[in-house]
C-alpha cells in the first residue's frame, strides 16, 4: 500500500519535474532578453556572464528611442496594417460567409470551392505576381498595398471558419427577423454578427497574428523606406545595423517587439487558441 503510494508520488514528481523543465525552456529566451535589456553596457560585455542583472538601468531604452529613429515607424505601421487587415478581412469575409451559408444561388458552390482551393496554394507562389501588381498601381511601400495583400491571403480562411459558424445559427431567428421586416443586410448585422461573435473573435485573432508576424511579403513589398517598414522587417534591419555596436539597445528593441503580442495572448488565451486551431484544421 505505502509502496504504491510512494510510486504514485514519485511518478507525479517526475511528471511535474519534466513539464517544469520543458516550460522553462519555452520561456527562458524571452526572460533572458528582458533581463539583458536592463543590464548596463559594461555588464553585457563583461567576461563573466550573468543571468540576473547585477545592476538595473533603463539606459538601453533611452538610447533606443534616441537613436533608432525607424523603430517608432515600424511599430505604427505594424499596428495600422494588422488592424486594417483584421477589419477588412472580417468585414468582407463574414459578409461572403453569410452569403455562402444562408443563400442558394447560381455558382455558390463554385465560388466556395475557388476560395477553398487557394488555401492549398502556398502564398509564396503569388509573391512575384503581387509585386508586379502593386508596382503597377503604385502601391509598393504603402500601407494600403500591404493591407490589401494580407487581406486577400487571409480571406479564404476567414470565409471557411465563418461559414461554419454562421451555418449553426438557428433559422427561426432569421425567419422572425424577416417577419418583422428586416432586410437581409439588417439581419446580418442584427443576428449573424452578434450570434457569431466568438467565431469572429477567434478568426480575428488568427488574422491579426498572421498579419503582425508576416515576413516575406512585408520584406518584398515594403522595404525601401522606414516610413513603410513593418516591425518584422524593421527589427531584422536593426539587427543587421546594430549587432556590432550595441547589444543592449538591440535587446530593448526586441523586447518591445515581442512583449505586446505575448501580453495580448496572456489576456485572450482562449480566443487565441481557438483561432489558431480553427486555422489549422482547415485542410
Amino acid at each position: 500500500m505505502t509502496r504504491d503510494k510512494l510510486k504514485r508520488w514519485s511518478d507525479r514528481g517526475l511528471l511535474y519535474g519534466a513539464l517544469t523543465l520543458v516550460s522553462l525552456a519555452s520561456v527562458l529566451p524571452f526572460v533572458w532578453i528582458i533581463l539583458s535589456s536592463v543590464k548596463p553596457h559594461a555588464e553585457l560585455y563583461s567576461k563573466t556572464l550573468t543571468f540576473l542583472p547585477q545592476q538595473y538601468t533603463l539606459e538601453n531604452y533611452t538610447k533606443m528611442f534616441e537613436r533608432m529613429v525607424g523603430f517608432g515607424y515600424y511599430y505604427r505601421n505594424s499596428i495600422i496594417v494588422s488592424f486594417g487587415t483584421v477589419i477588412l478581412t472580417l468585414f468582407a469575409g463574414s459578409l461572403a460567409a453569410y452569403a455562402l451559408s444562408r443563400f442558394r444561388f447560381k455558382g455558390d458552390n463554385a465560388i466556395f470551392l475557388l476560395f477553398l482551393g487557394t488555401i492549398m496554394v502556398p502564398g509564396e507562389v503569388g509573391l512575384i505576381g503581387q509585386y508586379e501588381l502593386l508596382s503597377a498601381y503604385k502601391l509598393l511601400n504603402t500601407l494600403t498595398g500591404l493591407t490589401l495583400s494580407y487581406t486577400a491571403f487571409n480571406l479564404a480562411l476567414t470565409i471557411f471558419i465563418m461559414r461554419g459558424v454562421f451555418s449553426s445559427v438557428p433559422q427561426e431567428m432569421l425567419d422572425a427577423a424577416r417577419v418583422d421586416g428586416c432586410s437581409w443586410w439588417e439581419s446580418f448585422w442584427q443576428i449573424m454578427v452578434p450570434m457569431g461573435a466568438s467565431g469572429l473573435a477567434a478568426a480575428g485573432t488568427l488574422v491579426f497574428l498572421n498579419a503582425w508576424n508576416e515576413f516575406i511579403f512585408a520584406l518584398t513589398m515594403n522595404n525601401w523606406t522606414d516610413e513603410a517598414r513593418t516591425l518584422t522587417v524593421g527589427i531584422q534591419l536593426l539587427q543587421g545595423q546594430w549587432q556590432h555596436w550595441d547589444y543592449g539597445v538591440l535587446f530593448s528593441s526586441v523586447m518591445l517587439s515581442f512583449l505586446p503580442v505575448i501580453v495580448l495572448f496572456l489576456l485572450l488565451q482562449k480566443t487565441f487558441m481557438r483561432g489558431l486551431t480553427a486555422g489549422a484544421v482547415k485542410g
Binding site: L15, Y16, L19, V22, S23, S26, L28, F30, I33, L88, A92, L95, A96, A99, L100, S101, F103, R104, I111, F115, T118, M120, P122, E124, V125, G126, L127, I128, G129, Y131, E132, L133, S149, A152, F153, L155, A156, Q171, L174, W184, W212, N213, F215, I216, T220, T232, V233, Q236, Q239, V254, S257, F258, V261, L264, F265, Q269, F272, T277, A280, G283
Partner: protein
C-alpha cells in the same frame, strides 16, 4: 451538403435589388480575385517566359526552359546524381531512415532543394513526436495543465523574425545561452560555433524551429486527446492495459488523424522555410542553409537581375512538389485503413 442546404434562401423566396447575396459576396470576390488569384495565375504565366522585371521589353515566351533550368541549376539540385532515390522504398530502407537523415546531415549534396529536404527530414519526425509526448504529459498534469499549456504556447505567438533574432543570441559563440549551458553542464571550455559551422548551421535552425512550433503542435494534440471518449480509455484500463501499452493500443490509433495533421502542417511549413535562413545565415555558410524559397527570393529580388520568370518557375515547381507530398501522405495513410 444537405445539412448546409437546409434553410438556405433561394432567389424566388425573396431577395431583390442590392439586398442580395451577390452584393454580399462582392467585396470578398473583388479583393480575393485581384490580390490573391490574379498574382498566383500571373506567376504561373510568367514562369513560361524569359522575363527580367527591369527589362520588360525583352520579355518573350520560352516554354519550359525555366523549368529545365531548375533541374540543371546546381544551386538547387546540388552535385547532380548523388542522392537520387531510385525505385520504391523497402522495409529496410525505411528502417535505415534515421541513418539516411544523419548521412544527409553530415554529407549534404548541397543545393537549395536538398537543403530543404534535409531540413524537412530532420524537422518533421521530431515535430510530430516531441509535442505528442508533451501533450500526453500536460494532459495528465491535472490542475496545473492550463499553466503548462500556456507557458509552452508563448513562443508561437511571436514572429519568426523576432524568434530568429533572439536565437542568434542564443547561438552566439561567446555570450549565447547555448554555449553557456554547454560550458556549465559539460564543462567544455570552448563551445561550438553553431551558425557559422556549415555542418551545424542547419541542425541549429532545426532545433530553433522545434522549440518555436512545440506549443502549437502540443495544442493540436491536446484537442485530439480531448476528443477521445473517456469510456474507451476506462474500458482498456479495466481490461488491464496500462501505461505505454494502453497508449500504443488505444490512444495512438484514435489520435491518428491528429498525427497526420501535425505531420502535414509541419512538412508543408518546412518545405516553405524562409525567414529563419534569411535572417540567421543568409543561406550560409557556403550554401549550406540555402532553402528553396530563400533562393527564389534571391533570384527575384537580390541578385540584381530581377529574374521574375525563373523565380516564378521555382515557386510553381515548389508548389507542385508540396501538392505531390500532400497527396502521397493522404494516399499512404488512407491505404493502411482499409
Amino acid at each position: 451538403m444537405s445539412a448546409l442546404d437546409e434553410g438556405r434562401i433561394h432567389g424566388r423566396l425573396g431577395w431583390k435589388g442590392l439586398d442580395s447575396p451577390y452584393v454580399f459576396l462582392l467585396p470578398a470576390v473583388l479583393l480575393f480575385g485581384m490580390f490573391a488569384v490574379y498574382p498566383i495565375v500571373r506567376s504561373l504565366f510568367l514562369s513560361f517566359f524569359h522575363y527580367e522585371f527591369l527589362r520588360p521589353d525583352e520579355m518573350h515566351w520560352i516554354g519550359l526552359a525555366n523549368y529545365r533550368e531548375i533541374l540543371a541549376d546546381e544551386r538547387i539540385t546540388g552535385w547532380p546524381g548523388i542522392v537520387r532515390p531510385q525505385g520504391q522504398l523497402s522495409i529496410w530502407q525505411i528502417a535505415l531512415y534515421p541513418l539516411l537523415v544523419f548521412w544527409l546531415t553530415i554529407n549534404s549534396p548541397g543545393g537549395a532543394f536538398w537543403n530543404t529536404i534535409r531540413f524537412t527530414l530532420m524537422y518533421v519526425p521530431l515535430a510530430v513526436v516531441l509535442p505528442l509526448i508533451l501533450a500526453v504529459f500536460v494532459d495528465r498534469a491535472g490542475r496545473l495543465s492550463t499553466l503548462f499549456r500556456t507557458l509552452n504556447f508563448i513562443p508561437i505567438v511571436v514572429s519568426v523574425a523576432v524568434i530568429s533574432i533572439i536565437w542568434m543570441w542564443v547561438y552566439h559563440p561567446e555570450y549565447g545561452i547555448a554555449n553557456t549551458l554547454l560550458r556549465k553542464i559539460l564543462g567544455a571550455d570552448a563551445g561550438l560555433t553553431w551558425l557559422s559551422d556549415p555542418k551545424l548551421a542547419m541542425p541549429a535552425i532545426v532545433i530553433m524551429c522545434l522549440w518555436h512550433g512545440l506549443g502549437f503542435n502540443m495544442l493540436l494534440y491536446l484537442v485530439g486527446l480531448q476528443r477521445i471518449p473517456t469510456e474507451v480509455v476506462e474500458a482498456a484500463r479495466v481490461d488491464g492495459a496500462t501505461g505505454l501499452k494502453a497508449f500504443a493500443s488505444i490512444t495512438l490509433p484514435l489520435l491518428k488523424p491528429t498525427v497526420l495533421l501535425v505531420g502535414l502542417l509541419a512538412g508543408i511549413g518546412a518545405l516553405k522555410v524562409f525567414g529563419q535562413m534569411f535572417i540567421m545565415t543568409q543561406g550560409g555558410p557556403g550554401d549550406s542553409t540555402l532553402s528553396v524559397v530563400l533562393y527564389l527570393y534571391n533570384v527575384a529580388f537580390s541578385y540584381g537581375k530581377f529574374r521574375f520568370g525563373y523565380a516564378s518557375a521555382i515557386a510553381w515547381a515548389l508548389a507542385a512538389f508540396i501538392f505531390l507530398v500532400t497527396l502521397v501522405a493522404f494516399r499512404l495513410t488512407r491505404g493502411r485503413d482499409q
